[in-house]
């Protein structure tokens, strides 16, 4: 289990973590999440359009002030390598009526994103860690949150 947790952070480059961002609207926020993926060479530029397209199909808001924008299945060929980005908007972004503080951009080929989403969702299911993510001000905090091993939280 520890290896899977480690994988989540190895997909997240430090420069893909931006904790003091501002976005004019949801699409701008998605573009920023996508740009961070582009900057590390994980995607082709067209993938950002696929992310916007996906958002218009079904919202990627998952609660706890977090959204997980990612491309449509058709856009997977525009992914060079699996990667994540974490963009924090301290002022919040109106995400189709919900407030989003953290956008986690996801680029995955094939079925890679299932495991990623599963791990991320498990982190966010813990309200304390979700809140910590919303308030994170350093990359180390973000990494710490994504690597905490919590196999024993079934007793909630």
């Amino acid at each position: 289990m520890g290896d899977e947790q480690k994988e989540l952070t190895s997909l997240l480059a430090e420069r893909s973590i931006r904790l003091d961002a501002r976005a004019s609207d949801r699409d701008d926020a998605i573009r920023q999440a996508g740009q961070a993926l582009l900057d590390v060479g994980a995607i082709d530029p067209g993938y950002i359009d696929a992310m916007l397209e996906r958002e218009n199909s079904v919202s990627t808001f998952v609660g706890e002030g977090v959204a997980i924008p990612h491309g449509t299945l058709a856009g997977k060929d525009l992914v060079t390598e699996d990667a994540l980005s974490v963009i924090r908007f301290p002022d919040g972004v109106d995400w189709g009526g919900n407030e989003v503080t953290v956008a986690v951009g996801i680029a995955a080929r094939g079925n890679g994103h299932i495991a990623l989403l599963s791990q991320l969702a498990t982190v966010l299911l813990d309200p304390e860690r979700a809140a910590a993510l919303r308030n994170a001000t350093t990359a180390d905090q973000v990494y710490g949150l994504l690597t905490t091993d919590d196999d024993d939280d079934d007793d909630q």
């Binding site: 998952v62 079925n111 299932i114 989403l117 498990t122 299911l125």
Partner: protein, 89 residues
Amino acid sequence: MSERTVKVASSVGLHARPASLFSQAAAATGVPVTLTSAAGKSVNAASILGVLSLGVGGGEEVTLSSDAENADAALDQLVALLSRDLDQE
């Protein structure tokens, strides 16, 4: 306790889009439903984070259950939903 077991038809499993549609539908029934993966992990079916955290793959069997009265119609509806490939894009 009403229970149904269904094979997830969505070709890539209960990932973001199918999970979203499924959890929204579960919430809309107004009936508390528990989703249990083949691995035995249970979550609230109406919680998208819960559903995502199970990481259910295509073709995997899941169990839907509820202690509520009148749960049968809701469970049947959700089974029908999971039996379709929600991955249409």
